[in-house]
């Protein structure tokens, strides 16, 4: 076997481009679109910093299931739903500001754990097709969530204030104002540099999660998770409780998604009670993939790069589309197309690669057998 550094520089460049096709494609798209959109650099920078604070925590929580080999966790919305329930309660009890945010995070934990255990157990029953199953779990739980929020809140679960209830007397309003909680976390230690507001506290929280992930990879559980992700049968033979490890990775992902959603909602400043979580899953997954992650491997760097590139595209695409085609709706649809398209391409590449590896392994096996026969 040749070592990496003996590969010629040109070859290495080709390999680099090949393994980073998606981010490079997005850099090109952004480079073309930014001048067209006509936004000022300071506006773009401000937007990007805000969106990084808003989304990074959510994107990072996707790393745990990938570590355990369970692919992209489309059911991360379960954590978002748990956070939304928690926020509804804190809003009803009129606990605002930082205490409200902290209380919402604490309240979301038990709900997240419950939903996470449910999700993990179901995924253990559907090994080999975790992604589509997690995708359906997301819809199924949305139904349960609707049942609770739209019908049970009021008659069964006491809601004190009419301001967050629908006029008919039960169920939560379509949009709940969180004005008293708006950006309280972001503003606490905010620094302004040349008109760009940097929410230091939010970034500190994100940094803490990153440190946690780095530390976690080295713990026994983290190592187990990676072993399970590599090969379930080998891990089982090595004495690792495979099912339990997988459930744990989903529970961790769900709990952190709950925290992430609280951060997200305090930044937005209102709670879209029925639609808030549905977009989250798709955008976070698309962002992670744009950053160069794949279904089986994702790093913290992928998450950072992905959020920056994806949201840059998201901001500039509508106005750039309007310039190109003369119709602002086209740009709107174009960015949706890009986010779906990127997930599709990533999934196809993952499956194709999996098959290629499998067939290569088969060929090698056949080769080895043949050689053995020849030797005899």
């Amino acid at each position: 076997m040749k070592k990496n550094n003996s590969v010629p520089a040109g070859r290495r460049l080709v390999n680099l481009v090949r393994s980073n096709t998606v981010p490079i494609m997005f850099i090109v798209i952004c480079a073309v679109f930014i001048p067209m959109s006509g936004f000022s650099p300071s506006y773009l920078l401000n937007e990007i910093v805000t969106r990084m604070g808003r989304n990074l925590f959510l994107v990072l929580c996707l790393l745990f299931p990938i570590m355990a080999g369970m692919g992209l966790n489309f059911a991360m919305t379960l954590g978002a739903m748990a956070a939304e329930l928690a926020i509804i309660f804190t809003a009803d009890w009129q606990i605002w500001g930082i205490p409200g945010v902290v209380l919402a995070m604490i309240l979301s934990i038990p709900i997240s754990i419950l939903l996470g255990v449910m999700c993990g157990t179901l995924l253990n029953m559907a090994k080999g097709r975790e992604m589509i199953t997690s995708y359906i779990i997301n819809f199924f739980t949305t139904g349960l969530y609707q049942l609770v929020v739209l019908y049970m809140m009021g008659p069964i679960i006491p809601i004190i204030h009419d301001s967050i209830k629908l006029p008919r007397g039960y169920g939560i309003r379509v949009t709940v104002s969180l004005l008293n909680m708006r950006q309280c976390l972001d503003d606490l230690w905010a620094i302004r540099i040349g008109g760009v507001k940097i929410p230091v506290l939010t970034f500190c929280l994100i940094g803490l999660l990153c440190l946690f992930i780095v530390w976690f990879r080295r713990t026994k559980l983290g190592q187990d998770m990676r072993a399970v992700g590599q090969d379930m049968d080998v891990a089982r033979d090595a004495g690792i409780k495979v099912d339990r490890t997988r459930v744990l990775s989903i529970v961790m992902s769900t709990v952190f998604a709950g925290f992430g959603m609280v951060i997200y909602l305090q930044n937005i400043g209102n709670l879209p009670a029925y639609t808030g979580h549905s977009q989250i899953g798709m955008f976070c997954i698309a962002a992670l993939l744009v950053g160069g992650a794949s279904v089986e491997k994702a790093t913290i760097g992928n998450a950072f790069l992905g959020v920056i590139l994806f949201h840059l595209m998201f901001i500039v695409a509508p106005s750039a589309g309007a310039v190109i085609t003369g119709d602002s709706m086209v740009g709107e649809y174009f960015r949706v197309f890009l986010s779906y398209g990127i997930i599709t391409v990533a999934l196809i590449m993952y499956e194709a690669k999996k098959r290629m590896v499998k067939s290569r392994a088969g060929q090698e096996l056949a080769q080895a057998q043949k050689e053995e026969e020849d030797a005899q």
């Binding site: 080999g128 359906i136 085609t325 197309f337």
Partner: protein, 358 residues
């Protein structure tokens, strides 16, 4: 000696396997629907109208559900890529109107025009699915999404000019909802309709169209090619040993599914009376997948009776839940119940252990 007791335990286990095959969730849904049916005369005066609604909705949706069958048979799993077929159908219907066909002829032309698109899209889709065996369902979902959002742009950009379809002010870009009055609204339903009393009406033509397609499907599955297709789905290793070209069979099944999807949406449109563009195809996939599963299909097994029973049960639920629920507890929970039931059914099918289907 032990034959008698053996026979008894065999009988018992047969009942149990029958129950297991039918599945608890399916049992609950069927029971729930029977309850709704039984309660209907007490809470709602107009039973004939409700029955007509169910039959109508059956005639709109049955072909879409039938489109699931070929891909399940060839082992490609549940066809979450149904939007591709729907897009072929939408291209056919909009082109037919654009070219100026009117009345019943516009329906025939829509069928004719949709077919090449369905074959083309189905062919490409089939080639893709052959490369990613094992991950069909997830990728199908996202291929559907990508295709829908791509077509969202195309509906705005393609040079359609027919004044019935484009925005009045700018003269370009298709409207989200296009009325079919004067084109093929009720084109099939009004063939030999049976009217009994004031409210009860059977859309015979639309039902006949379904029967025709379903019979064609049944007959096809019993030909040599059809049997080969089923073999590919139930046991790929055996199929390969028997000299069947697996990729070709899968490709054929995907094209068939896509074409049936296109026909399905055209028949849906003639009953519903409108063409729905842009993000509307998104809302068709999950109910359709859920319907065939409720009817007794699994991820790798489906039959024509599954289609018929599933569509009746699902559409019955959609029609009856609002009426009965509203008059009983004065809360319209039907939408939420529909989501929970249909997604729960899909989830149940996915988490069951199936031989061969990985």
């Amino acid at each position: 000696m032990g034959n008698k007791t053996n026979g008894a335990t065999l009988e018992k286990s047969r009942v149990r396997t029958l129950l297991e095959q039918y599945g608890l969730p399916r049992l609950i849904i069927t029971g729930f629907l029977l309850l709704l049916f039984l309660m209907l005369p007490f809470v709602e005066g107009n039973v004939p109208l409700q029955l007509t609604n169910i039959i109508n909705r059956f005639s709109w949706n049955a072909v879409l559900v039938l489109a699931m069958v070929p891909m399940i048979h060839s082992g490609c799993g549940l066809n979450f890529g149904l939007p591709l077929g729907i897009i072929a159908g939408l291209l056919g219907s909009t082109l037919s109107i654009q070219l100026g066909f009117k009345g019943g002829l516009s329906f025939v032309m829509a069928v004719v025009l949709a077919t090449p698109f369905a074959v083309l899209l189905g062919g490409g889709y089939g080639a893709l699915l052959n490369r990613i065996k094992g991950g069909e369902m997830m990728i199908a979902t996202y291929v559907g999404f990508s295709a829908i959002s791509f077509m969202c742009m195309m509906w705005l950009l393609l040079p359609y000019t027919s004044p019935t379809m484009v925005w009045g002010l700018s003269g370009t870009g298709l409207r989200p909802t296009i009325s079919l009055t004067g084109f093929y609204d009720q084109a099939l339903a009004n063939i030999l309709p049976i009217q009994i009393g004031k409210y009860f009406k059977v859309p015979t033509g639309a039902l006949l169209a379904f029967v025709l397609l379903a019979f064609g499907m049944w007959a096809f599955l019993h030909t040599k090619t059809g049997t080969a297709m089923t073999a590919v789905g139930s046991n790929p290793t055996f199929a390969r040993a028997a000299g069947i070209n697996i990729d070709r069979m899968r490709m054929l099944s995907v094209i068939l599914s896509t074409w049936l999807g296109a026909m399905g949406i055209l028949i849906y449109q003639q009953g519903f009376g409108f063409i729905q563009l842009y993000n509307a195809p998104n809302n068709m996939t999950m109910p359709t997948v859920a319907a065939i599963l409720i009817g007794g299909a699994s991820v790798n097994k489906a039959s024509i009776p599954n289609v018929i029973i599933g569509t009746i049960l699902f559409q019955g639920m959609v029609t009856l839940t609002p009426t009965v629920m509203n008059s009983l507890i004065h809360m319209d929970m039907s939408e939420t119940i529909r989501v929970i039931v249909s997604q729960g059914m899909i989830l149940y099918a996915l988490t069951r252990k199936t031989e061969g289907g990985k």
